[in-house]
Symmetry: C2
Subunit: 340 residues, 2 copies
């Protein structure tokens, strides 16, 4: 694990380290059968995974499995599948958004070129199913097919969310409701899927599964809002990517949506000098950030993220107290308190 | 169905029409639940499918199922899954190869831009699994999981094949053996998978499945060799894409590999004026094609394709005579006799 975990309990840190290691070992094995010739494809596919990442989603799979009384060891292949889907979407998103840096290293298409990065993403997506199918050793066909169905449905939602995100860049006005729909699909859906698959594999009841779904939808929305705030205000080196890149790319975050709603004509001008302007100077980005902050947009989004976090915790607290429940509650707090 | 089917028996034509219609209807339903907002993504995803295509692979699924005594109606979702995988790889390949035309229409990235085309390919790939999972209504979990495994393993092979194909463009020398490995993965693997899945769903024995695998591997290799020949010599409008684009893109086909092996220094020069030169004139392309033909490379590849076709038919003839066997034999002959 890299830094940024100061605001995490010792127990959560230990548990996250363990699930990361289990899933990373599993994925490494999945890529160990590589032939000699396709090394570039393998290296490009593993690049982002090797660069770190918090592995929050595998943790959600394993801990949700444990929460409903299942054996998390049986869910490792599915935890790996979810992490592979996550990385596949990141590799392709970085091409689409022309991002050059992620997790502190150059993006796959910057290092290997766009064709190889497209192919690496496709490989990661296929490997996600390969990972999932390994679970057949320990998981009933019915639960496994249900898990594969969740992965599939969720990936389609993520694609829809990314399509909305790109469309928003071309529009002059985006509503808060539209933004929430977009991040529900683009970000929260995979966190919901992670928890749901863990609970399905662990034999959770429909009531337990729905409770987890509601909790992780709320937490996933909070996660994206905090991401948007960090994208404007975090320490660049800790964040692993340039500050303000959302602005440059014209991404509609709740911060810009709320800020634009409160801005006067001249203030709007100032925001649009940065928003969607890939050639914006550092100074123009800083001015837009300062303005959005003074318009109360950052506070508004942070408060909203905190409210969603409370909602998520409320749902989780409906489960009887247990070590996995406490770890999940800790994770939810980390999601809104993290600095990268 | 479009033209190009003159060299097909009436029985095969009817059967191919029927399986195309069944699979197209199934896919249309799969895309009918679209929300309002993501229309661009849906249109981009359906673009290539709507432009036609021969639907050979779904036919292989359904007819292989019937050949081993199964009910092909139960295999329709998996036939659709294979066609969706095929289209996903075409959409992404066209981006990587910078192709502008396919099936007589502009490629997805030309019409919708590269980001939306990446996303459309991803959506088609996910939809392939969505399609496959519909089979759960009629197919046992064990057979369905095996089919999903075949789809997954095959897609990884296709990615490896495409990676090899791209690497070859950068190399001065590629051997015939390397070319055969590349097309086995890039092209033949999906035709093998189509037949295998049909046989798995139809309850074929391991011996029957292996026989079909051998037949379709040979036929798939022949298919790609004929494709390479057509890419140099077909009627451009019937083919639906520009003649010589393989040469311009620097693709190593068996024609160029064999031709370069027989060419003298000055002849090599002439070939390399076209090969890998995206700015090659029409005249330079024509001269290279004429030279490769006079070096016997086109005849060599055509003869090799015919030999693989005979091998494939020999494997198929080990099945007892039956209407599906005759249709498959007709299809194999069509693969090497087609003009587009």
């Amino acid at each position: 694990m890299q830094g940024g975990l100061e605001c995490m309990s010792e127990e959560l840190k230990r548990s996250l380290d363990l699930s990361s290691k289990q899933v990373d070992d599993f994925i490494a094995k999945l890529f160990s059968e590589a032939g000699q010739r396709d090394q570039d494809l393998w290296k490009a596919s593993m690049h982002l995974l090797s660069a770190g990442g918090k592995r929050l989603r595998p943790f959600l799979v394993l801990t949700s499995c444990e929460l409903v009384g299942g054996n998390p060891g049986k869910a490792i292949p599915l935890a790996a599948a979810i992490e592979l889907v996550h990385n596949f979407t990141l590799v392709h998103d970085d091409i689409m958004d022309q991002d050059h840096l992620r997790r502190g290293v150059p993006t796959v298409h910057k290092l290997y070129g766009t064709p190889m990065a497209i192919l690496a993403g496709d490989t990661l997506f296929a490997k996600a199913y390969e990972a999932a199918l390994v679970a057949a050793e320990d998981v009933s066909p019915k639960r496994l097919l249900r898990s594969v169905e969740i992965i599939t449905k969720t990936t389609i939602e993520i694609c829809q969310g990314q399509a909305l995100d790109m469309q928003f860049e071309q529009r002059s006005k985006v509503s808060e409701r539209e933004y929430m729909e977009m991040i529900a699909k683009k970000t929260a859906a995979l966190m919901v899927a992670a928890s749901e698959i863990g609970a399905v594999v662990g034999g959770g009841t429909p009531r337990e599964i729905n409770r987890l779904r509601r909790a992780m939808m709320a937490s996933g929305l909070a996660f994206q809002m905090v991401d948007d705030v960090l994208g404007l205000s975090a320490d660049e080196r800790r964040l692993g990517k340039p500050i303000g890149s959302d602005l440059r790319e014209g991404k509609r975050t709740l911060i810009t949506i709320h800020g634009l709603g409160r801005a006067g004509t001249m203030e709007k001008d100032l925001i649009f000098r940065a928003l969607g302007n890939r050639d914006a100077t550092f100074e123009e980005i800083r001015e837009a950030v300062t303005l959005l902050t003074s318009l109360g947009a950052v506070d508004y989004v942070s408060a909203k993220a905190a409210a969603y976090n409370e909602k998520a915790k409320g749902e989780l607290r409906k489960f009887p107290a247990s070590p996995p429940r406490e770890r999940l509650l800790d994770l939810l707090d980390y999601v809104v308190a993290r600095d990268r």
